[in-house]
């Protein structure tokens, strides 16, 4: 029964989720710090922009990215001329789109964790002569571990299940853009329900495991691993 199962789409999905999560973690921490503690004109607009992908249908984001990534105009043209990289129907394009689409899943938990921690921790560390980096590494991040892990898990799970955007800008290039959800869709189209069932079962198991970890962490009393 398992002879027809291709593992490449799962490997592509895992690769996409891992790369996107790492990129979003490095972007998300500074953005969340700014949104949580800085006061600036246009802050509400910045918060809306960061949260918007959560409320838009993936096909809408996919449509705009399709136009933006097009090699004849916009970002796609610039990236192709500068780096010789195609954004449409490529893994790079898929990562870029996933970073944009999954942004709120990383930034929101981080921002909320920092807000509930309070500004006084940050200020106390500065008054003790510590730099921003030292404060971030020794005070801020260790005290929002649960939020950090929630952000990482939610982003990972969300990217693992990415479908609409992949369909719009990635297509189904084996080893490049053919992720698990697309492979599942194709199996259903071919009416191969037995294999579709296995694909779906694996995706459900991964998501369940991640969610279980999130809830276990949320229910733990202390913000300690």
């Amino acid at each position: 029964m398992n002879s027809g199962i291709e593992w490449l789409p799962f490997i592509t999905s895992l690769k996409l989720a891992t790369v996107t999560t790492i990129i979003l973690l490095s972007i998300g921490i500074p953005v969340a710090l700014i949104l949580a503690y800085a006061d600036f004109r246009g802050k509400v607009l910045a918060e809306i922009v960061v949260t918007l992908p959560m409320f838009l249908p993936p096909t809408v984001i996919g449509f705009y990215l399709l136009i933006l990534f097009s090699p004849s105009s916009g970002l796609g043209k610039i990236v192709r001329e500068l780096f010789g990289v195609e954004l449409l129907f490529s893994f790079t394009g898929l990562v870029t789109a996933s970073v944009i689409h999954s942004m709120p899943y990383m930034i929101q938990p981080l921002r909320d964790g920092l807000v509930s921690l309070g500004r006084s921790m940050l200020e106390a560390s500065f008054t003790l002569g510590k730099s921003r980096i030292s404060t971030l590494m020794h005070v801020m991040l260790p005290n929002i571990k649960t939020s950090l892990l929630t952000g990482v898990m939610m982003t990972f799970v969300h990217v693992m299940g990415e479908f609409g955007i992949v369909l719009m800008i990635g297509g189904s290039v084996p080893g490049e853009t053919r992720v698990a959800s697309i492979a599942l869709y194709e199996k259903v189209e071919m009416m191969n329900y037995a294999e579709a069932n296995i694909y779906a079962g694996i995706l459900v198991s991964v998501s369940m495991a991640m969610l279980l970890i999130i809830y276990m962490l949320r229910n733990s009393k202390r913000e300690v691993l």
């Binding site: 309070g118 106390a124 560390s125 008054t127 510590k130 020794h138 005070v139």
Partner: protein, 234 residues
């Protein structure tokens, strides 16, 4: 000598007002900031620490300029030789009492010595959530003084404590002051506390200094003698 000149627009419960103060304090002195809520005491303390920005102003501590808005100079908080005790103590929840102090001074021997002097050995390995209010307050004070700051800023540090515990901590503050010889500025609403500890009292009202009273020998354990000029003012 610490020279302070601060101008900052504030929004209080009574509407908009301007914090507009200028004063100098002697090295090693203990100055209390008093006044009703919303008069600008905490903002003044935060501006001196560099935690809040003044619209315009000048701060010099010893020979070092901390703030000069005319020259667009602002020394970062971490580079000012200050200790700050927050009203909510702001202890780091991920660190034990010992780690909180070690994080400040980076010297494990000194950390253990200070903990021993404060007789906090028994709770040194507890996290803040397990400490009583009094222990949290002492940890916050110890953490701030462990860096041997030039200027210690206290924002109503004893407000959550009962009278007996307060007196105990006043004595502790005096002990650290004698040991490290720092200048102190403390926000307080407690008149007895102010008389007991401070040798100068600046009373703020709607952002300006309403009175500036110097005690002849404001010191814990001795009766503060208010000088004649101050008596006339009062």
């Amino acid at each position: 000598m610490i020279d302070v000149k601060i101008n900052k627009k504030l929004v209080s419960a009574c509407g908009e007002m301007a914090l507009n103060v200028g004063f100098s304090i002697d090295k090693g002195s203990f100055t209390a900031l008093t006044g009703v809520s919303g008069s600008g005491k905490t903002t003044l303390l935060r501006c001196i620490a560099g935690l809040s920005d003044a619209d315009s102003g000048f701060i010099r501590c010893g020979g070092e300029v901390w703030l000069d808005t005319l020259k667009k100079k602002k020394l970062p908080v971490r580079k000012r030789g200050i200790g700050f005790v927050f009203q909510d103590y702001a202890l780091f929840p991920n660190m034990t009492l010992r780690r909180n102090i070690f994080y400040a001074c980076n010297d494990i021997k000194k950390t253990d010595e200070l903990i021993g002097m404060a007789e906090l050995d028994g709770v040194a390995d507890l996290y803040p959530e397990k400490l009583s209010s009094g222990q949290k307050q002492r940890c916050a004070l110890l953490r701030a003084v462990s860096r041997e700051p030039e200027l210690l800023l206290l924002d109503e540090p004893f407000s959550a404590l009962d009278a007996d515990t307060k007196r105990l901590f006043h004595a502790e503050l005096v002990k650290w002051r004698e040991l490290f010889d720092f200048t102190v500025m403390m926000v307080s609403h407690d008149r007895a506390e102010v008389v007991r500890l401070a040798d100068r009292v600046l009373k703020l009202d709607r952002g300006i200094i309403e009175s500036d009273v110097t005690h002849k020998s404001g010191c814990y354990g001795r009766t503060a003698v208010i000088n004649a000029a101050a008596r006339r003012v009062s």
